[in-house]
Each structure stands twice: as structure tokens, then as C-alpha cells.
């Protein structure tokens, strides 16, 4: 096959290459540079020159090297075989690359994202003569035990067609034709695989209102700052405040059907940790390995910077594809700051005029475009699916006033601010309760109230109120010491301290505490609130606070997160009874 040469290299400056002698190259076209065939994308056209951003190390590329066009934009391959795989930022399968190229990532090697050798058991769901439209389900494939992969009609090929041939149930590779569709005299051959350009959102029928929370099993998130399915959240925090730990915990235990984990410019060992750990972890809801619902995209900090820029889009395109099949997908992007920095670096190399702190002026537009691809959608085949985005932000020096944090804040509706002082005290997850917020509280309140006998909204605002009062009291304590406060106010400090230790703090490594069910979370919160209510009453009767603190049952409350199993929430009721009895006794002694 004759290859199409679109131009020759004129200048090489790191990952940015100027190409001369451009003939018919397209904007955003995927190109191969030099005889090593380094993958690049054409990002700017001007006269007979173009700028190409190369996704691999450009050492050795010299002026006059040929640039080859592929005729299509940078796209991902979508089809069975994505789940459980680890890809780099431009969807190259890392395990396959390792088998071919060894322990280091060599340049210029490329392998298809979806293996052509594997075959999948296809089960048709349409018959000859059926009418299909974009997004229609042609058939299904058991991708993993928990993911029933739907084979969809690609969104843009034709508007309506008739099946003239469909493959019988059987084993096929992803590039085998499984259906032939006729539309206005034209025939289209469909395979189980389709391509989609990563920078274009996949079309949907309609955006729906958000109403269901994404249950993460992390108490501070679910009860205090909930995220809705289809929502967006930013987790900003300086280094060491636990962004990655929080992301990992959510990836492990949240109730999404599919997880797309993007390691964008982060540590190699962290990805290895996920790779090592996820296959062994068992999802409490389905009893299956977590890897059976997870896709990893690893573009570590030492991998080429332009592929880092692409990794975010690759991830969200994979997520949209599963959403179109009717799944609820959660994306973890760790970290969007590295992505923004990649934009900055490339923009600098292209000699664009910088805006704030050297970031390009289009940074906010790009951030907005990315987060807007999240949502709870009615997809083309009228099913419902969602993409929720959980983006970590790494502000330099932990200063939230920097551009990436500020712009991200404008486009997300939920904000989990990680607090350095909490992290120093090893209070994890270090989500600060004063600076964080969630605009989804009202959206998901109905759901929660339904699952908590109508108490959630009330309980939540009660404890938030206590936390606010505690801040003011702490300021007084800092000046005069706790002894100066009356017992009734000291008790607020006591309850808040218990709430922080026993509820907000969660040990990700403890077999019981790493994940709490909805029932356990509600039970725990109510128990702490009844301690507050009954304790305050007792103090009014004249019981000294010290006596209340020393009750044996308070120790039980403090340790309930470790001692009460998720399946044995009834134990919380028994603790509540003991609490009532103990306080009743104490009250009785002082009433006389």
C-alpha cells in the first residue's frame, strides 16, 4: 500500500514538530513521524506549514524526515476487550507492548488496542429485516462476569437502516463482520469494534436531571458531601494529603458499573499498586474481582507529555462508550493538574501567548469541555446511563487560588477540599468539612430520605451545624483553654471530636472500615446524634460531662467503625440501647 506523505519535518523542539510542504493534511489528523513512525497529532495548519504534537520521545528526528498521514483523527478502538486492560494515554495496550518490546517502553512500537486474536462469544439480538438506528443494540458479548457488553450500531454511519445479514451466535474476533445493514441502497458492514475520535463527545438523546447518589462507601462523602451519578467533583489537595488514596478508595468501593481510572502524569508505582491490588479485591456487591469492571489508563509522569494531554480524552471516550450501553460509569482522573501542565508545556513550545502563570488562555475552555462530558443521559437507544467525573487537582503549594483549581471550581458542582492539617494528623480521608461543599445535596436528598426513614436531610444539617459551632468554640479554647467553657458547650467539642474520630475518619486498610454500607452510615450518624441529644439532656439535669465521657458505651461508639460489621447493622441498635440505659442511670443519680 502506498503511504501518504503529508510533509517533511522542518523544526524539532521537544514534542512539538513543525512540518513543511503540507499538501492535503487535515486538522487533528493522526500522523506518523520519521522512519520510526512516532505517533503524532496535527494541531495547527498555516499555509504550507503545520505543527504536530508527537506522543513519543522525539530524540533522533531530524529536518527533512517524512511525515505520514493516516487520514483519520486520533481515535480509540471501542469494543469487547477493553475492561481489565491497562492502556497508555493514546490507548496502546501496555501489557502487549511489554510482551513485544520488553520492560521499557520503546519508541515507535504500536499494537492494536483491541486484540485481533481474541474471539468473543457474540449473541445476536436482532434478526434480518429489523430496522436499526444509531445506538441500536445488535447483540451482546459477555466481556467479564459482570459486564454484559452490548454491541451498538455506530452513532454517525447512517440515520436508519435495515439488517440484511446478521451473524449467528458464535465466536468472532473484533474485526469480523457481524452484521450488514442497508440504507438507501448503500450497504454497511459492521463489526464488534468501532472507532471514535477522542476529542468529540459521543452523541446522546437527552440529558436528564441527576437524582441518584453515587455511593462510595466513604462516610464523609456519602453523608456530608454526596456526589450524584452523572455529577462532577474536584478533589484538590497539596502533595501528601491523600488525593490518590481517596481516588483509589472510591474506585474500589463505589457502586458504579464500570470504573475508568486515568493515571495522568502520576507515579509509576501507584499504577502498579492498582494493577497488583484490584484483581485480588472482591467487590462486596457482586462478589467478583474489581478488575472485572475496571479500565486503567496509565500515562506516568515520565511518559511523553503530549500523550498525557490525550489521556484524559481517551479515558472519557471509553467511559462514554460504556454509558451508551446503559452502564453507570465513574472516571477518576488523577491528576487534572498534570494534564493542564501538559497543555501549558505544549502551548509554550508552540510559542503561544500565555495567560495566567504561563497557562494558555484556552485552559478554562478545555476544562469546561472535559467536565461537560459527564452527565446522566438518555442514550441513543433510550436506555439510561451516566458518566461521573472525579478529578483530582494538585495545586502548587496547596494553594487553592491557582488557575487550575479556580477554573475547575467554576465547572464542577462538588468540591472535596483536602486539608493539610488533617493529613498531618493522619486523619484520612482528609476532606475538610468547612471548605468542601456539594451542590448535589438537594438532588439526592429524596433518595437518601427514602433510605433512612426520612431522617437524612435533618441529621446532616444537625451535624453540620454542630461542626460550625465547634469552630467558634475552638477559637475561644485556643485563647482561654477548655476549662473556661461550661459543660454544655464543652459537650459540643466532645461530640464533634467523637464524630471526627469515629465517623469522618475512615481507615482504608481495615477490613471492616474501608467500606460502609448505606445502612451502616445512617446508623452510625444517628447513634452519634442521639449521644448528642441524650447527653445534652443529661447535662441539663446536672450530670458532669466527665462522667458522660467515661461511660463504657462511649468507647463502643468510638470503635463501632471497626467492630460493627457491614452485615450486622443491628449491633448499632444494641449500642443505642446501651447508650440510652447508661445515660438514664447517670441522669437518675443526679436528679435526686
Amino acid at each position: 500500500m502506498q503511504e501518504r506523505i503529508v510533509g517533511q519535518v522542518k523544526r524539532v523542539n521537544g514534542p512539538v514538530i513543525t512540518v513543511k510542504g503540507i499538501t492535503d493534511a487535515m486538522m487533528m489528523e493522526l500522523v506518523n513521524v520519521g522512519e520510526q513512525r512516532l505517533v503524532g497529532e496535527l494541531v495547527k495548519l498555516s499555509g504550507t506549514e503545520a505543527i504536530v504534537q508527537v506522543y513519543e520521545d522525539t530524540t533522533g528526528i531530524s529536518p527533512n524526515d517524512n511525515v505520514y498521514g493516516t487520514g483519520m483523527p486520533l481515535s480509540v478502538e471501542l469494543g469487547p476487550g477493553i475492561i481489565g486492560t491497562i492502556y497508555d494515554g493514546i490507548q496502546r495496550p501496555l501489557e502487549t507492548l511489554r510482551n513485544v518490546g520488553g520492560d521499557y517502553i520503546q519508541r515507535g512500537i504500536n499494537r492494536p488496542s483491541l486484540s485481533r486474536e481474541n474471539s468473543w462469544m457474540f449473541e445476536p439480538l436482532v434478526t434480518v429485516g429489523d430496522e436499526v438506528t444509531p445506538g441500536s443494540i445488535l447483540g451482546q458479548v459477555v466481556e467479564t462476569e459482570r459486564v454484559l457488553h452490548k454491541i451498538l450500531v455506530p452513532p454517525t454511519l447512517f440515520t436508519k437502516g435495515t439488517i440484511v445479514e446478521i451473524a449467528p451466535k458464535g465466536s468472532y474476533s473484533v474485526d469480523r463482520t457481524i452484521a450488514i445493514v442497508e440504507y438507501e441502497g448503500q450497504t454497511f458492514q459492521l463489526t464488534m469494534m468501532q472507532r471514535w475520535p477522542i476529542r468529540v463527545p459521543r452523541p446522546v438523546r437527552e440529558r436528564l436531571a441527576l437524582h441518584t447518589p453515587l455511593i462510595t462507601g466513604q462516610r464523609v462523602i456519602d453523608m456530608m458531601f454526596p456526589l450524584a451519578k452523572g455529577g462532577t467533583v474536584a478533589i484538590p489537595g497539596g502533595f501528601g494529603t491523600g488525593k490518590t488514596m481517596t481516588q483509589h478508595a472510591i474506585a474500589r468501593w463505589c457502586d458504579a458499573d464500570i470504573i475508568v481510572y486515568i493515571g495522568c502524569g502520576e507515579r509509576g508505582n501507584e499504577m502498579t499498586d492498582v494493577l497488583r491490588e484490584f484483581p485480588r479485591l472482591i467487590d462486596p456487591r457482586t462478589g467478583r474481582s474489581l478488575m472485572e469492571r475496571t479500565v486503567l489508563i496509565a500515562n506516568t509522569s515520565n511518559m511523553p507529555v503530549s500523550a498525557r494531554e490525550a489521556s484524559i480524552y481517551t479515558g472519557i471516550t471509553l467511559a462514554e462508550y460504556y454509558r451508551d450501553q446503559g452502564f453507570h460509569v465513574a472516571i477518576m482522573a488523577d491528576s487534572t493538574s498534570r494534564w493542564a501542565e501538559a497543555l501549558r508545556e505544549l502551548s509554550g513550545r508552540m510559542e503561544e501567548m500565555p495567560a495566567e502563570e504561563g497557562f494558555p488562555a484556552y485552559l478554562p475552555t478545555r476544562i469546561a469541555e472535559f467536565y461537560e462530558r459527564a452527565g446522566y443521559m438518555k442514550v441513543l437507544n433510550n436506555q439510561e446511563g451516566s458518566v461521573s467525573v472525579i478529578g483530582a487537582v494538585s495545586p502548587p503549594g496547596g494553594d487553592f487560588s491557582e488557575p487550575v483549581t479556580q477554573h475547575t471550581r467554576r465547572f464542577v458542582r462538588c468540591f472535596w477540599a483536602l486539608d493539610r492539617s488533617l493529613a498531618s494528623a493522619r486523619h484520612y480521608p482528609a476532606i475538610g468539612w468547612l471548605e468542601s461543599y456539594s451542590e448535589y445535596v438537594n438532588d439526592v436528598a429524596a433518595w437518601w430520605d427514602e433510605h433512612s426513614d426520612g431522617s437524612w436531610r435533618e441529621s446532616r444539617s444537625q451535624i453540620m451545624d454542630l461542626l460550625q459551632r465547634e469552630v467558634r468554640l475552638q477559637q475561644i479554647v485556643k485563647l482561654v483553654g477548655p476549662d473556661a467553657l461550661p459543660d454544655s458547650q464543652n459537650f459540643i467539642l466532645e461530640v464533634c471530636s467523637l464524630f471526627k474520630n469515629a465517623f469522618l475518619q475512615q481507615n482504608a486498610f481495615d477490613d471492616i472500615d474501608r467500606y460502609s454500607t448505606v445502612e451502616k452510615q445512617i446508623g452510625m450518624l444517628q447513634l452519634i446524634l442521639s449521644y448528642w441529644r441524650l447527653g445534652s439532656e443529661a447535662i441539663k439535669k446536672g450530670v458532669p460531662m466527665v462522667k458522660i465521657r467515661r461511660m463504657k458505651v462511649v468507647q463502643d461508639i468510638a470503635r463501632m467503625k471497626f467492630s460493627v460489621d457491614n452485615d450486622d447493622v443491628g449491633e448499632l441498635d444494641r449500642i443505642a440501647l446501651r447508650l440510652e440505659r447508661s445515660l438514664g442511670q447517670l441522669g437518675g443519680m443526679y436528679e435526686e
Binding site: 523544526r11 531530524s62 520492560d103 508505582n269
Partner: protein, 471 residues
Amino acid sequence: MKNSNMLTGLDRVLLSGREYVGADKIDGPLVFMRNTHPIGYGELVECIDQYGKVRTGQVLDTSDEVVVVQLFEGTSGLTLPGTKMRFIGEPLTLDVSEQMLGRVLNGLGKSRDGAMLPRGEGHRDVNGLPINPTSREYPRDFIQSGISVLDGLTTLIQGQKLPIFSGNGLPHNQLAAQIARQAKVRGADQEFAIVFAAMGVKYDVARFFIDSFEESGVLSNVALFLSLADDPSIERIITPRSALTLAEHLAFEKGKHVLVIMTDMTNYCESLREISTLRGEIPSRKGYPGYLYSNLAELYERSGKIAGRDGSITQLPILTMPNDDIGHPIPDLTGYITEGQIVFDREMHARGIYPPINGLPSLSRLMKDGIGEGMTRSDHPHLANQLFASYSHVKDVRNLASVIGEEELTVLDQQYLEFGDFFERKFVHQAFDEDRSIELTLDIGWKALSLLPAEELQRVTDQEIEQHYRS
């Protein structure tokens, strides 16, 4: 297709011998050349001055019109007409060999002591290649450094990159030397090979390390890459790359456990800034280039373990925080890449505590999987957690005490003060040559906790309290 491929390859080989005379512009360490054959990006360059002395450089920018070369040994003494350039046609490489242990080299890996270097066992690109994340093995072998605050609270793991954030005048060199001397993996008798990269440090500092290695008799197991304060600043950019290239060879080809000490990363970053400014690049924070993060990552990520290979690379970079500011871009970006950090505290140093490590901002990210039952001791994770929690409360109590006076504190808070003092004086503080076993470290930790009432210890289990707590 094949033919034209070979032809271009052959062309390059033929052209690579060609020598160009006369530069167009020299600016700092950068030399600009016009009218050359097409030069590859990142190619190695030999620059010959009018006296025939050869300097090494690398192509920073290449285009039809002009090629920009950065010379690692500086440009002083060069003239525009008298400068000759030879483009080698391949990237900068290092001839690596096990025999480099015990030798003193310059930043480019050439002999510094005058003696000839042995023939290399391999020829490696100093920029290295990224390790495929699927090939990595997750590091989890505990390194006993014999230093309580490290072993107990910020445990070093084989294959980790754990920087020391220090300040001028603080004993970071002593600590690094002590770790290098005492580090061992329990149950394994293999010693660490040490690769030492000095960037822009004073001769005395290099001397201190050499003496310290000599005293403990490990000098034959150390390769020193020295680019001292009076060497051209540009050489510092290549020094850590040369050092890490040797480390990779020793670890992944020769199966050794390598400890890489790099000091001072701040000087390295200053050199990067210098080059970036000279090239007229758009700066980001404090004049540092926007790619500082990626550039540092290229160094720090060259550590770890590879599945199926015996060796490991553990990195111990040292950086002095300008003005003791942990939010400065250098420590800040480093902290985002490395697996934790060891943070020095000037106030603790002033109070005579060695090592003056502030436990609260210090962190080891890989610690969670390297300690506990079967690795250190079963109570270690909870104990460390409890020490952190209690010590962080000490800070609050001290603040309160400075306002209302110690006498006014509650009994409990006074116990906390006592705990804090004991913790700093007995647990953190130790002698420069004191090598504590992990058991001893943990026992001292329990002694400290025993100064507090048992009901204050909420992060340890009842059984652990029963076993170790002695009030």
C-alpha cells in the same frame, strides 16, 4: 520502502563524521550553528575549540536553518570562527560497567581522578526509557536505616524515591551518609551499591561523603559522579542522568540493590532555569520552565523494581528548600512525584535534636505495604498511626500553653507535653553513629505512648495496649 530506509540510515552514518567549522552565535552554554546537514533532535555533539580540546554537548533544537547545541562543559574560551562541531548521529550515551564502583567521575561519567576507565560493558542512552508500568514490581521490602524516626514513622522501602527536604545549614548530609552506612534489608546479606551524584555542591561536601564512605569501608562499592560548585553549571543537568544510567545498569543488569544519593536537587533546577531563560522560553512559577515537573519526573521515576529482575533502585534525593519554604516550586513539584518526603525542621535542629525530622509533614507512601506482621512487627502500623495522632495534638497543646501558661493546662494536656518531650528527646533524637533495630525503635515508641492514659490511644487495638502499654 526498505531501501530508502537504509539509504537514509547510511546517509546519516556518513554525514555524522562531518565536521563544521565556525559558529554563528554563542550565548551562555548554547552554541548556534547554521548550514548543517539535517541534525537529529537530542543528538550528541563534540565541540572542538581552537586548541583541540573536545567538549561534549547535545542538540536542544533543530531546524532547517539553525541548530542549537548546549555544551555541558561550558563555552568559555570558544571563538565564533575557531569552533568546530561534529554531530555524532546518536544520543548522548554512557559506557557503563560494574568497574565504575569505587571511582570518582565527572558529570558526564568521565574519569575525574585522571586514571583510565575500564572498557564499558554496555552503551546506554543517558536519558533512559520509561519503565512500562506493567513491568514494575510494587516495592515492599523494608529497609532498616537504624534511625527511629525513619524506620518507625517514615519507613524507607527498597525501590522507593524518598527525598530529604532540608535547608541550608541543616545536617542533611550527615543523615544521608548515616542512611548509606546503616541501610540494610533484614534477612538479606547483600550490601547496597551506592551511586552518588553531586550537583553544584562545594568540595567540602563531596569530601565529607568520600571520607564517610571510606571510614565505613564501603568506598569500593560507591560510584561518585561529581559536578562541583566550580564546574560549569550546565554539567549539572547531565550529572543525575549519568548516575541513574549507571544505577539502572547495576540494578537491572547486574542484579544489585542500588542506593542513589543525589545532592543538591535545587542546584539542578537552577541550571534548568538558566538554560530555559537563555532560550527565551515562557516561564511558569518563579521563572522555572513549565516542564520542570516532567523533567524532574524523568529523573525520579528511574527508580523502583522490575518484575523478574533481582536488583532495585532506591533514590534519596536531597534538596535545600530556598528560604525553608516547602511551597517553593522545587520541593513542591518534587513532593508530587516522589513517594513521600522527609522534612527537616530548623527549630528542632536549634534545640539540638538530631536528626531534626519533623514527623508531621514527613511521609512515606510505600510504608503501608512494607510494615506490619512478617515484615517489621504486627503492632507497627497502628503504633505509627497513634504516634502521629498524639504528636499532632502536642503541637496544639504547646500553642495553648504559650498563651495561657503550662500551669493552667489540664492534667491530660500536661501529660501530652511530657509525651511530646519524651518523643522528641528519646524517640527522634539519636546519635550520628547509633544504629537501632526496628524492635528497639518500636519499644521506644510504646514507652512514649505509655506516658499518656490508655483511653487516649484510640488508634491501637486493646490487645496491643495489653501487650505493649506500660503506664
